[in-house]
């Protein structure tokens, strides 16, 4: 008889609510008529809210269950909240978008919930298999969501490219996990770390382990668009429905960072001198390439895609510091970046009111005269991305730079600061366009209240946590 170890349900309560809610919603949606499709969205928001509240009780506790494969701690709770915040704002931004583009289908919200579940597995996973499970759940829903506007060829193209590169990357990830298991006999992160700390591995086994570790990093690195595994990003981001682009760029990235941080800081903690230099180099290259790519873009959506590559480079400075402070900085950065990118994409969504793309830089011309609210929102988002006080982006950059500096990554900080000055050029060009140029063609602007609410909420939060970062940082 197989003995089932006792299960601590409080560890997986949030996961249960999300998965249970998503499954129930999938069935409930069948009974909701198309004209009332928003109800599905509201129900999804309710599920997210319930899960978010469920995270309050275990705050400050640590625990694990399912034979130590899933754990809970403040790191994962904060990340869970960031995922849910991102998902909730994405849903709010989608209400107006979906019917206008003729893709008002209920699965959309359900799949976002499943993606959130996958992300939570990445944040809570204490085992390589769980990390893989979370990543795949996240990826597969995102493939579907990227191609959600399927009559549109760009959307299909995005989904296809994403799937191909994603499959490629997953292959390496699985192979990497297999090699690590072969070398250490464990898939549990803590056990791998313990094996490495004891120094029991040598010879061939060590080579296998290292190759496996490299491939695991690659599998996760592709998801955070680390150069040179980033090439899919601009094309996929441009082609996907805009709310999904926003969701992928923030929540998806945050989840991959969660897994990456867990793997590096738990399993490979003792091998710091091996992975820090190479990842520092990759972070620098990522920062440079992402920002250079954004520099000449006339298409704002594509520019934001490149910008998200560059931002990923900055976020990576947090785990690279390999300190508590670095992890805190990363979490703060992820939150700030989530809010900022959602606000920026929210403005783009508002500009797509007629269902056609209005992403050219010139389409933003004279936005200040046409819609002052959107203009201010976009300006604040751009300033936050550029890292100008008093926005959250500034505190975020400051936090990761401080952490990296204390960890001795002076060169990396220098590169980061210089490139962020260059990056200010293309962010501020958007601001200049909004306030100082005349519109080149008539772009209809959505006046949906819920959309405006979502954008406004994000913008207020950007400024709020930019002005009062201390309380939040203490909390983390």
């Amino acid at each position: 008889m197989i003995e089932i170890p006792p299960i601590d349900w409080s560890v997986v309560l949030q996961l249960c609510i999300i998965f249970g809610g998503a499954t129930a919603l999938l069935m409930a949606d069948l009974f909701i008529p198309e004209v009332r499709r928003r109800v599905t969205g509201y129900l999804a928001l309710a599920v997210l809210a319930a899960a978010a509240i469920a995270g309050v009780a275990p705050w400050g506790c640590r625990g694990h269950t399912f034979s130590g494969t899933i754990q809970i701690d403040s790191f994962s709770l904060v990340l869970n909240w960031i995922f849910m915040l991102g998902a909730a704002i994405t849903i709010v931004l989608s209400f107006d978008y979906l019917p206008r583009h003729g893709i008002n289908r209920g699965e959309y919200y359900v799949m976002i919930l499943f993606a959130v579940g996958g992300m939570m597995l990445l944040a809570q996973g204490a085992d390589l298999v769980v990390l893989f499970l979370g990543l795949e759940l996240l990826s597969i829903t995102l493939y579907a969501l990227a191609g959600f506007a399927y009559p549109r060829t760009t959307s299909e193209e995005a989904a296809m490219k994403y799937l191909l590169i994603g499959a490629f990357a997953t292959g390496f990830l699985v192979f990497g996990i297999a090699l690590v298991y072969g070398a250490t006999g464990a898939t549990n992160l803590a056990q791998i770390g313990a094996v490495l700390a004891e120094g029991r591995i040598d010879g061939e086994n060590r080579i296998y382990l290292m190759a496996g570790a490299a491939m695991t990093v690659i599998g996760l690195g592709y998801k955070i668009s680390l150069v040179p595994f980033h090439m899919w990003t601009p094309d996929v981001y441009e082609g996907s429905p805009t709310p999904i682009t926003a969701f992928m760029s923030v929540a998806g990235k945050a989840a991959a960072f969660a897994g990456m941080t867990r793997f590096l800081l738990t399993a490979l903690e003792t091998q710091r001198e091996i992975w820090v230099p190479i990842l520092a180099a990759l972070a620098a290259i990522t920062i440079v390439v992402g920002n250079l790519g954004a520099l000449t873009q006339q298409n704002v959506k594509r520019m934001l895609a490149y910008s998200s590559i560059g931002q990923a480079g900055y976020i990576l400075l947090g785990p690279l510091a390999a300190s508590e402070r670095g992890t805190e900085a990363m979490l703060y950065y992820l939150l700030a970046y989530t809010l900022t990118n959602l606000a920026a994409f929210g403005v783009l969504i508002a500009l797509e009111a007629r269902g056609e793309a209005a992403w050219n830089l010139s389409d933003l011309g004279g936005l200040w005269q046409r819609s002052p609210g959107l203009a201010i929102a976009m300006a604040i988002a751009m300033l936050s991305l550029a890292g100008v006080p008093p926005t959250a982006g500034f505190v975020a950059k400051f936090a990761v730079f401080t952490a990296a500096w204390q960890a001795g990554q002076a060169v990396l900080v220098f590169i980061g600061v210089i490139v962020s000055a260059i990056a200010a050029f293309y962010y501020l060009r958007v601001v200049a366009q909004i306030f100082m140029s005349e519109p080149t063609r008539e772009v209809e602007i959505s006046s949906d209240r819920v959309l405006a609410f979502g954008i406004g909420l994000s913008v207020i939060a950007i400024v709020l946590i930019g002005v009062l970062p201390a309380r939040l940082l203490n909390l983390i």
């Binding site: 080579i207 490299a214 040179p228």
Partner: protein, 658 residues
Amino acid sequence: MSDLRWVIWLIPALPLLGFLVTVLLARSERAAGLIASVAVGLSFVATIASIAVMQSLPEEARRLNIVLWEWISVGAFRVSFGVLFDQLTAVMALLITGVGGLIHIYSIGYMHGDSRPVRFFAYLNLFIFAMLMLVMADNLLLLFLGWEGVGLCSFLLIGHYFDRRSVAPGIVPSEAAVKAFVVNRVGDAAFLLAIILVFSRLGSISFFPNEALGINGYLERAPELAFTQVGIGFLGSIGVITAICLLMLIGVTGKSAQVPLYTWLPDAMAGPTPVSALIHAATMVTAGVYLIVRNHTLFSASPTAAGVVVAIGLVTAFLAATAAITQFDIKRVLAYSTISQLGYMVTAVGMGAYAAGMFHLLTHGFFKALLFLAAGAIIHAVHETQDMRRMGGLKDELPTTFRIYAIGALALAGIFPFAGFWSKDEIIAHAWFTVQNPGAAVALIVTSMLTAFYMGRQVALIFYGKRREPGTPAHEPGNAMRIPLFILAAAAVLGGLINLPGVHWLSSFLEPVIHEPEVVYTLGMGILATIATLLSIGGAYLGWWLYARALAGRVRPGRDDPALRYLGDLWRGAELGWGFDWFYQRVIVRPYRNFSQTLSDVFDRQGIDGILVAGPGRILGVLAHGVRVAQSGFVRNYALAFLIGVVVLVGYFTLAGR
């Protein structure tokens, strides 16, 4: 009534409020004019109330100092943000708000139909506020704030017609505004150095001690340092007090338009006429005189500095008077006349005749404001012409304006019994009898003759003879303009009463501040005054006779003055203001511009812009292009890049982790 002290704060606060309300709320010309005038009018009432409060206090407590907050406190450097109200301030505040208020009302009529009335009235109020801060500050730094504030407002108001190419031949408003600002900066820099020196040597920049805050006053400490020296590099050393006074004097020459920094004032006539009257005749330019009187303990302690002050005043008074003779622009005559009269005041305060200097400051404020405003009425009447050669014969067309202008001219010329006579003769008498300096007295008398001469010339050119440029008939000003003129005319006639010999109301009022012994009048003074007045009458008649009778036929629009034939280069020199402008233009402005141009072309545009700014931009552009090209859109290329990354990463990990 001592709990009514807060009323003092209202004096500067009301114009500031007026400025804010005008800027934020006023949308029409009418509203702006009304708000601004009411604000200054109320400020005038507040001044009178403050004087009443002050007079109700016991004699020794009649210096009110209200500190609102401690402005700066860095170690020993402690500056309060407070207002001071004593007799000297009271006199200045009365002049500023009184004449200022009249000019505001006049402006309602004068600026009618202007394209930017709200801006104009807002700046006027801001100016009044700054000027009041200047005279009510209880320390040098706050005074400097007002000092800079009036400079700024002067700049803004001279440039009111910034969109016009020229208002008079050769004067561009925007350039005149910049000139006024820049020339004043030279003086301001020296004044700032004086403040620093005061702090470093006297330990405080507050005028009077403030027991509540524990701040010392520097004025009473001046005599202690009479013999202390301060090194000035290889030039040796100089008395501390003398150094402070001389630096302050440079500031005074800028703000009060004295030689050698007077050149901005004639050009400042590019502003609207009420601005000329308010800023460049009645108030702002008197700031320098006020500064010397406020710091009179310093100037008394340094005979050297006082001597330089007198010399500068005399030279200015004389040179500006000669320049005024040769001008044809109606406002330029008055501008040079203002410089000349300021020279009088500076001479007076340099000689230690502080009460007489303040007396002349007041009467001059009345009649010069009157003359400017009347000139404004004339300019309006003949359709914005300022060239006196194109006027003539306006006596019959503008009888009221003529009478008013004549009163102003007689007062300025120092003819008995008008206001100018009393104040001017007080200064001359002080020079001759009290300080026993006949040379200075003679120079002042000659200047007063010249003054009478150019006023006679001006009246003759404007009002006598025939209209030299027939056009549409001239018209008298409206009520808004006329009533201030009447009030000021009355003041110009009766202004002498405030300090009549024997009554000495002003002198005794100012006595607690300046501690001046009362003047004893002798028969000699009467004789001197009679001679001076007769000479002035002679000068005025000569000027009138030459330009209304003898040479009248040879004055034509666009032609040189007939006197040029007889005086030649001497006349030309005076006409150009004795070449100060020419000198500055050649020696400072042009070389400086060329130098800047070179820096801009070579260093900035090619060096910084060309290499440092555009260079990285171009490199980044090329790199960014590379990134774009790599992004081909083909998945196979992406996979290739991916694979290269895999090889590098796996290779590194396995090699480094061996």
